[in-house]
Amino acid sequence: MIKFMLAIVRRDILLVARQPAEMINPLVFFVLVVALFPLGVSPEASLLSEVAAGVIWVAAMLATLLSLELLFKLDHDDGSLEQLLLAPYPSWTLVLAKVFVHWLVSGLPLILISPLIATMLFLPTHAVPALMLSLLLGTPTLSLLGAIGAALVTGVRGGGMLLTLLILPLYVPVIIFGSSSVAAAAQGMAVDGYIALLAAMFVFALMITPWAAGSALKL
């Protein structure tokens, strides 16, 4: 079973490597959205630092959403998804492997570039570790939850918009605690509680979503 998952991970990474645009896009989108805020609102440091936590988190969420549609779509379109589902392994292994690659491609770069983004929005430097930690726990959760939506709308026309509509309510708790943890860190308060909750949500998503998405794929 592990070999199956590793094979899928390798395959998906290879597919992404052939089209590096797929990897750059979420990153560029993330930076662009963040950059638009000073442009659209105000470049004042005092204002930006107050909203930095929330803006970064919402931008990360949007970037994740952008790349989610393709999670299963490409494989569904050329028929390989059906073949993969016929493999003698539970469907949740397929989901878990694909979500992992999705996170590698969209979540991890966001985490790595977040210190730079924090500077753009005047987030205090002592809050950056909390930012990275919250994103580290939060982006996989977003990828996992998004996989359910992506699985449900596979093969549906106009799936992209529908996907967003389906998943956003599920994202609300993650956004709330993610951005609150960063805001708390910026004010010098302890973040243990928030991080614990984010971790709990991650574990919870890890347990439920592969199964739910797997069942949805088989429909």
Binding site: L162, P173, L219
Partner: protein, 254 residues
């Protein structure tokens, strides 16, 4: 879920038969209609005209008699929809999916009523039509959940697949509702200074509380009525080829 590991008792199996549901539901329908009308009219008239005004809020608190039932129903209908979906998935009962589908529109309606009446109630109470308080915000998220279920149901053309997909979404949504509510409430305590709750807890005198009971019960009866009607409609739409329907009284007019 490929194997059902729970065995159905016979009465449960019988309830899954569309013909039984159509006939029995047809008998129950008028009763629920009458009950809904009586309970709601009684509750509304009592609450509007006869209940004493609230000491703090004055007459605007009367909105409670429509806001609270709407809020309660909006959440319990979503839960019921998920339960029906789960039954359909576990026991592969088509009827359960039909019942779940019947819940979507009425549930969303109650949610919209809860949102709008909550907002209107906010104006004389807090001076603003919209405040990001915990209750209103989670109701808004609930409306998004309903919208998602509705959109998914309409987007998938195959009825069977649509039923299963919406069941999965409803179940995932239901599991998330407590998490969402908790996080929104928590977020609210962080940002809101006032700790005012929209509905005063029932340390109310009986003549203030009883009309509420009536409107809640009446709303549940109305919900039952709509679910019966919409499910029977779906039965008519999908069972036209069967012999029991072809020979049914409603069709032959006998």
């Amino acid at each position: 879920m490929t194997q059902s590991i729970w065995r159905m008792p016979r009465w449960f199996h019988q309830m899954g038969s569309p013909k039984w549901f159509y006939d029995f539901g047809g008998i129950l329908q008028p009763w629920f209609a009458v009950a809904a009308f009586v309970l709601l009219t009684w509750g509304v008239v009592w609450g509007l005209a006869y209940a004493p005004a609230d000491y703090q809020q004055g007459n605007s608190f009367r909105i409670m008699y429509v806001h609270v039932p709407a809020a309660i129903l909006s959440q319990s209908i979503f839960l019921g929809m998920a339960v029906a979906g789960a039954i359909g998935l576990i026991w592969k009962m088509k009827l359960a999916f039909m019942v779940a589908r019947s819940c979507i529109a009425i549930g969303a309606t109650f949610t919209i009523i809860a949102l709008l009446t909550g907002a209107i109630w906010g104006k004389p109470t807090w001076g603003a039509y919209w405040v990001w308080d915990a209750r209103l915000t989670s109701t808004l998220v609930l409306l998004f959940l309903y919208a998602g279920v509705m959109a998914l149901n309409q987007a998938i053309s195959e009825r069977q697949v649509a039923g299963k997909a919406t069941a999965i979404l409803a179940i995932v949504g239901t599991i998330n509702i407590p998490i969402i509510k908790y996080s929104v409430e928590w977020w609210n305590t962080l940002h809101q200074s006032s700790s005012f709750t929209l509905t005063s807890k029932p340390s109310m005198p009986a003549d203030m509380y009883l009309p509420l009971l009536l409107t809640v019960l009446g709303s549940y009866c109305l919900f039952a009525l709509v679910v019966l009607m919409r499910t029977r409609t779906q039965i008519l739409q999908t069972q036209s080829g069967t012999s029991w329907l072809a020979q049914h009284r409603d069709i032959t007019g006998a």
